[in-house]
Amino acid sequence: MADRVSVRALKRGEASEWSKFVGDIGPKIVGYAHRMGSRDPDEVMGATLEAVARRIGEFEGGAGDLRSFVFSIAHARIVDDLRRNTRRSEVSIENTLDLLEADEPNEETFSDPDLLGALERLPEEQHRMLELRYVVGLSTRETAKAIGKSEVATRVALSRAFAKLKDLLSEELRAESSEAEVAS
């Protein structure tokens, strides 16, 4: 876990601490980027870790603060990646095959297609907060730091996002049940 990572050891550049940190936070960044719609999660992960290493000297705080710091950077990288892919999709023709392959659905990602569909229908900020709070596993305070809001505002926004997600899932259930009744 990232809690066991020593920020001081990371600042000193200890190899073991950096290996543990990359092994712990790397998959989370990849999954987060993947769920947020990034088309190259590995690139986002590499760029995020590099940015963290460049700014680790200025960082002050504990392991929880470090996770917030990492995902705030990851979000910025995801946004950049999405913008870049949008421009590339409009202009470039050479990478058409890659884009088509990237658009192919991932089996693991669509293990809960109803939930993922509901998340994608949420606004981007609520989707992001739910991802960080419930999928990545950050605390409310860490989530607030990652998105740059106060803890109270984040808590309110999370409850609204959670209610919105339930409504979306209920609507889907109602739609499915009505379809089933019609079919029967």
């Binding site: 990371l10 600042k11 000193r12 550049g13 200890e14 190899a15 950096w18 290996s19 990359v22 092994g23 790397g26 998959p27 989370k28 990849v30 999954g31 993947h34 769920r35 590499g46 870790l49 590099e50 963290v52 290493a53 460049r54 700014r55 680790i56 000297g57 200025e58 991932n106 693991e108 990602t109 293990s111 809960d112 939930l115 993922l116 739910l130 419930y134 999928v135 990545v136 596993g137 959670f162 997600l165 339930k166 899932l169 209920s170 259930l173 049940s177």
Partner: protein, 362 residues
């Protein structure tokens, strides 16, 4: 219909982590991240530590006693400027600071009361005392027909006027012994050097000019002695020196007179030398006169030089070679001293006679 509860929804969201697959950590990536972390964390730490050390060193250099002293000084200045100190201390501090032109308030009791001005009583004025009458001092007078400037190194054959002066009655150093002044003649021991500038012969003021052949020995030396006498008259320093190496029973007279006058006065040097061969009388007379009319002025203003030198192979040969260089001396010499020149009218002739002797003093 089963509605999803909040807990179940949260678990469903957490199950999405299953999509996160652990991957093997790339060591190259780790090494790159390490180097970046070291580079980023090194500079801020050093800079902060450096500033902290500098500030600490600056504060520590003053020290506890230094800061305490500075605080005490500041408080004292404040108290003094407001006059809040006790009267004696305030008075002392005011006296001290007054030295450096810093005015601080003095205690009220120590303020000086300026008395009212008192009417002055008229006092009779006494007439100023008359200045003392200073008698003019006879100085060397140079004849106006002398050439004003002549280079020193000119040949002797040119007519040169020797500045003539009157002999002083006493000289400062004229009473030198024979041992001290080798110019004293054995024949006339008391005369040589008795007066500054007089040569060994007494007839320094004789009618015959020095340098004339066949004259009595010592005549040629007498002229330099005359020139040496002028400093004595002008109250300056005079030296008389006479040298004579005489063969037994003969008369060799050397006379040397030097005088250094005070600035603005005439300086005359007289010198007489004689080397006589056995059975002969050779008299050499040399007179130098230098005068500086003004103190601190360059020497070109007035220089008089007289030189008499004579040798003769005859029995009584006196060769006098007189040479005078006078520059601007007319202005120096007051006209009252003109009679002194008249005593020795043969001064230019001395040079002529010396030329005849064929020996140049220079």
């Amino acid at each position: 219909m089963i509605w999803p509860s909040d807990r179940r929804l949260a678990l469903r969201l957490a199950d999405l982590r299953a999509t996160e697959v652990a991957f093997d950590v790339d060591q190259d990536l780790v090494a790159r991240l390490r180097s970046l972390a070291i580079a980023s964390s090194a500079d801020p730490t050093l800079v902060k530590g450096r500033w902290k050390r500098r500030v600490g060193a600056a504060i520590g250099a003053v020290g506890v006693f230094g800061w305490a002293g500075a605080a005490a000084a500041g408080a004292s200045v404040g108290l003094v400027s407001t006059g809040s100190l006790p009267d004696p201390i305030q008075n002392v501090v005011a006296d001290v600071l007054e030295v450096v032109n810093i005015e601080v308030p003095r205690p009220v009791s120590s303020v000086e009361i300026v008395p009212e001005p008192v009417e002055e009583v008229p006092v009779e004025e006494t007439p100023p005392a008359e200045p003392p009458v200073i008698e003019p001092t006879p100085t060397t007078v140079i004849e106006p027909d002398q050439p004003e400037e002549e280079p020193v190194d000119e040949p002797v054959e040119e007519p040169i006027a020797t500045p003539t002066t009157t002999l002083p009655e006493e000289s400062d150093e004229g009473d030198l012994d024979a041992e001290e002044s080798p110019g004293r003649s054995e024949e006339a021991p008391g005369q040589t050097g008795a007066t500054p500038g007089q040569s060994g012969n007494t007839p320094a003021q004789g009618a015959e000019p020095p340098g004339q052949t066949g004259n009595t020995p010592g005549q040629s030396g007498s002229a330099p002695g005359q020139s040496g006498s002028a400093p004595g008259q002008s109250g300056s320093n005079g030296q008389g020196n006479g040298n004579s190496d005489n063969a037994p029973g003969q008369s060799d007279n050397n006379g040397n007179g030097n005088s250094d006058n005070a600035p603005g006065q005439t300086d005359n040097n007289g010198n007489g030398n004689s080397d006589n061969a056995p059975g002969q009388t050779d008299n050499n007379g040399n007179g130098n006169s230098q005068g500086n009319p003004n103190p601190g002025t360059p020497p070109e203003q007035s220089n008089g030089n007289g030189n008499g030198n004579g040798q003769s192979n005859s029995q009584s040969g006196n060769n006098g070679n007189g040479r005078g260089v006078a520059a601007d001396e007319v202005d120096v010499t007051p006209p009252e001293a003109a009679p002194a020149t008249e005593d020795t009218p043969a001064s230019p002739n001395r040079g002529n006679n010396g030329n005849r002797g064929g020996q140049s003093g220079r």
